[in-house]
Symmetry: C2
Subunit: 598 residues, 2 copies
């Protein structure tokens, strides 16, 4: 099994030459984010990912987290790695300096997050969930909650969890039944059971801060009656000193296909008299607060898709270079060669590589837009960037994760029979990737978000603005006259046309026949992902061509970008018209059967 | 976890109304294969699959086969199930009556094999590998080998294995190093190590008959110096009485992603003085004999793709009917509904269902063609059918197995979070399916076989004959005028055009630039699979329309066939032009990078 090496050169290319690091660095809040600082952070994060997290990934999978008597023991090396992770300041990278954070741009923390997730996805889930809880407290916590809990979560002293799901309330949070009873002292007693709680119990820190969705006694039915509560594992006084054990207990952990080292907990609240909790923000607005954090969480899961694709690619590439098998096609009397010389292995590697690069480019561009949306001095720019981020979040989440399953599976295929043997490590990436299209909203939920809230609601304004930007890139491509750029232009232009057709269908149908529109939701999401990825790849190829013309930088690196974009155009963008066809024509057949005709 | 129920009605439809069971039944060798007999066999096999094999599938996965001190203990219930399997005569269904077989048509044994593989794929591998060894002995065994070994393998008393792979010789059998030293008594001593030997050791029978590829001392290098040997686990006298232990030992079994109950063995031959073996057929023709059996073996693995897709579909459908979550799109104030009501779940189920039906139709048609190719009285028909079988074998193998991975993954997706929990059972189908695109020749090897031996070698004659048959179906579709049939016709016609374009590219390129042609091999295979599946679905829809017009049979069943074909047209056939684009345009980008630019 190969260890991970952070693709820093590629990350720098995307950050600096595609995503506008210079623009982000000039934002008032990021005066410190000089290029030198960014490079230094990437370097250090790469060392930590490669040297500390990646070597634990395999044992984490094989041994996993263990449950006994309500306690969870994390996998070998996890405790030490977490201590180092917190001590090195990685928990606080993008957090607000007011609470001890380093306040670095999202664009930078995005690249760093990619590294954690490539190196050891199961480990990365602990800080990721904590980050979600941190955001909620920053947005809606009281000063006391902030000083007692938030600062310790930013420093990594304590971790956080998000308690949404219940057995009957998975994608449908309206069905949440956990209840909160007001107490005389202003606190609440929480009763209920939550499932699928990532790092809901562990041995990494002295305390765990659970954020819990529950209903007040007088709450309205459905989504408008859900409130958000803070429930610590151990009670805490105003100085943060740990006191009595609270009545929240891990009654079991799940036996899963992947991410074995990430404990997925069933948490029982209030089985012994009630778990003490504190209201966050206002009553009955819990789901709204969750929605505020949702972009962040979905973006992070999208990054898992990218990160696992990169890891699977590195693993497969290493194998393809080492494994000697067969002779080269068309070479008579030649010796045995490494399988990277075989055309189909090369096709598979290019497919993994080009899609991974497309995902990285798109995700980082969205990360940079998030920085601009938060901190740009011009309100109009902020609004415009936020609309872009909102539109693209379901794509980063849904497209990157769907791709990751295919890409990790291709990685297994490149290994041949060895890919099916667990010792090789390729299969783990597929097993780990398989959760990413499910949690934080399935791909269908992303697709419905895309066609409903993101396209239909504003009458396609944000979408058409993106299509305009894409068309501007086609104009730039017209200036280039080489077989590579012609191939890129043809496939990209066809992709845009397909995207526009499908968008028009969604706009025409969503209001009048939501079921018909919804059949197209996931194909539409994939179509948009493919074309948006192609857009960023086309931009990358244009930048590369410019550098080659100037004679600046590493010529081989830039030539590779053009070739990779061309491959993406021929093999990936070429799927766009077929997806548009399914969006526009596919509803009737999907909806015609009665339930009992299946 | 749901148990499997054999889809007998669908199997009968394909056998009788698409694959020409009546024609097969009239072949001289199958005088016994009346419709009544066929129905009775399907009924009994369905009971065995559902009642005996399916209930063992989950424990087989969770506990698996265990190795200790050279012995393999099969999973709980395996021994009893195998005994019943052999006693019921299932090992001998399609075998030659001369050796105790029942001599039933391939078309029937295909349907029965689908059931074993759906119910319990890991179990099914044991009789499948035995069948391969049986075929080799039928074709090239001496009379003595036949009477001693073959009859006991047909009866199921002993099992067989195929020993091809070595650590350095996976896809490239030219690299086989196992050696065979001639002995004075006409036998050989075999020395070497074989890996990935399915059921190479087990506790189901008293003896195991290993067929082993090895080199004679004076053998030429490469593929022309490989001979085939019979190496029993225990020596046997002329009466079949078991004697001394032979020097072949299982030194370990693999820890795999799936098919845990199928022991994948490392076998050491000759570590204690030499394993006694007997030459099968002539020296140095071992690989040629393997090729004779290859169609059969590849077809069987293709059936695994179909079978696991059917199983995954049944599991997902059961869950989608039971799981209550959310309200129906577009219905205000409605109650919670089963998720089968959600448009995207419906899309996913239709995708699974329609592709599974397309695979079944194509595979059974190829099964029937195999019967005709073997037994039709007219030599010209035999030759024509054999060319059809040869052309389609890489499609049945490669396309059905690639589909199975996607379909099993879709099955996981329909389960949402529960799909990632192993107890649910959905994930097992994905893990089991993942081997099918690898063993018996990876998808790339199938693709290269398709474009080289099957398309380029005869100048596209066999392929163009198939395209002609497809076009004849388009003419029939022209007679139907309904939205369903218009949709089917449009997508199918576009698919045929795409297939023809890609075929022309292969024919133009294969001789002059084999690398460029080879980049397109796997996209070409998928394209052909999709269009060939669409062809059979279109035939099914036409038959259904005719039955509906006649007012014969179950109207709902036939209506469903038309809807399912229409879905397939809009969502699956619509991918064909994009794949043709990749075949025709995709070589340059795939081949342009230097190895170190990856």
């Amino acid at each position: 099994m190969s260890e991970y090496v952070a693709p820093i050169r590629d990350m720098q290319f995307v950050m600096k030459e595609l995503a506008g690091l210079d623009q982000v660095g000039q934002l008032p809040s990021f005066g410190d984010a000089t290029e030198d600082l960014v490079d230094a952070v990437l370097e250090e994060a790469g060392k930590f990912a490669n040297g500390v997290l990646s070597p634990l990934n395999r044992a984490g999978d094989q041994i996993g987290a263990k449950w006994a008597d309500g306690k969870v023991t994390t996998a070998p090396g996890w405790q030490d790695a977490y201590r180092q992770f917190a001590e090195s300041g990685w928990t606080s990278l993008a957090c607000d300096p007011e609470y001890g954070g380093q306040g670095l741009p999202k664009l930078l923390s995005t690249a760093v997050m990619e590294m954690w997730k490539s190196a050891n996805m199961a480990f990365s889930l602990c800080p990721m969930l904590t980050n979600g809880a941190i955001e909620a407290l920053v947005l809606r916590g009281t000063d006391e909650q902030k000083s007692t809990y938030l600062t310790r979560m930013v420093s990594g002293e304590w971790t956080g969890t998000m308690n949404l799901t219940e057995p009957q309330a998975g994608s449908d949070l309206a069905a949440v039944r956990t209840r909160a009873e007001p107490q005389a002292d202003g606190s609440y007693k929480i009763f209920g059971q939550k499932i699928f709680i990532t790092y809901g119990e562990h041995d990494l820190t002295d305390n765990i801060v659970h954020l819990v969705l529950a209903r007040l006694p007088d709450a309205p039915e459905g989504v408008k009656g859900i409130s958000l509560f803070l429930v610590p594992k151990f009670m805490v006084d105003a100085e943060g000193t740990i006191g009595a054990r609270n009545d929240v207990h891990c009654v079991s952990i799940e036996h899963k296909l992947g991410i074995h080292a990430s404990p997925t907990c069933v948490l029982a609240f209030g089985d012994h008299g009630g778990a003490i909790g504190y209201l966050i923000g206002e009553p009955n607005r819990g789901l709204e607060y969750m929605f505020i954090m949702m972009n962040e969480a979905r973006f992070a899961v999208g990054m898992e898709g990218l990160a696992l694709s990169e890891r699977a690619y590195q693993q497969a590439l290493g194998y393809a270079r080492d494994r000697i098998q067969g002779t080269e096609a068309g070479v008579r009397g030649g010796g045995k060669v490494a399988i990277i010389r075989h055309p189909d292995v090369r096709r598979m590697l290019m497919s993994m590589k080009s899609q991974t690069e497309a995902m990285r480019a798109l995700a980082y561009v969205v990360g940079a837009a998030t920085d601009l949306a938060h901190d740009h001095p011009d309100e109009a720019v902020r609004a415009q960037q936020q609309a872009f981020v909102d539109l693209l979040i379901p794509i980063v989440k849904g497209w990157c994760t769907e791709n990751a399953i295919d890409i990790a599976s291709t990685g297994v295929q490149i290994h041949g029979g060895m890919g099916f043997i667990e010792e090789t490590g390729a299969a783990q990436h597929l097993r780990d990737a398989r959760i990413t299209t499910i949690y934080e909203g399935t791909t269908a939920i992303q697709g419905n978000d895309l066609i409903g809230r993101k396209i239909a609601r504003d009458g396609g304004v944000a979408m058409k603005a993106v299509i305009e930007q894409m068309r501007a890139v086609v104009v730039q491509l017209n200036d280039q006259d080489s077989p590579e750029f012609r191939a890129i232009r043809v496939a990209f232009a066809a992709g845009i046309t397909a995207l526009e057709e499908a968008t028009d269908y969604v706009l025409q149908t969503y209001g009048s026949d939501i079921k018909a529109a919804s059949v197209g939701a996931v194909p539409m999401l994939k179509l948009f992902g493919i074309v948006a990825g192609g857009w960023q790849m086309a931009r990358a190829a244009l930048v590369a061509q410019q550098r080659l013309g100037e004679g600046t930088g590493d010529a081989s690196f830039y030539q590779t970008k053009i070739v990779t974009t061309r491959f993406y155009a021929d093999h990936v963008l070429s799927q766009a018209p077929g997806l548009a066809y399914a969006v526009v024509n596919g509803a009737a057949g999907a909806l015609a059967l009665d339930d009992d005709q299946f």
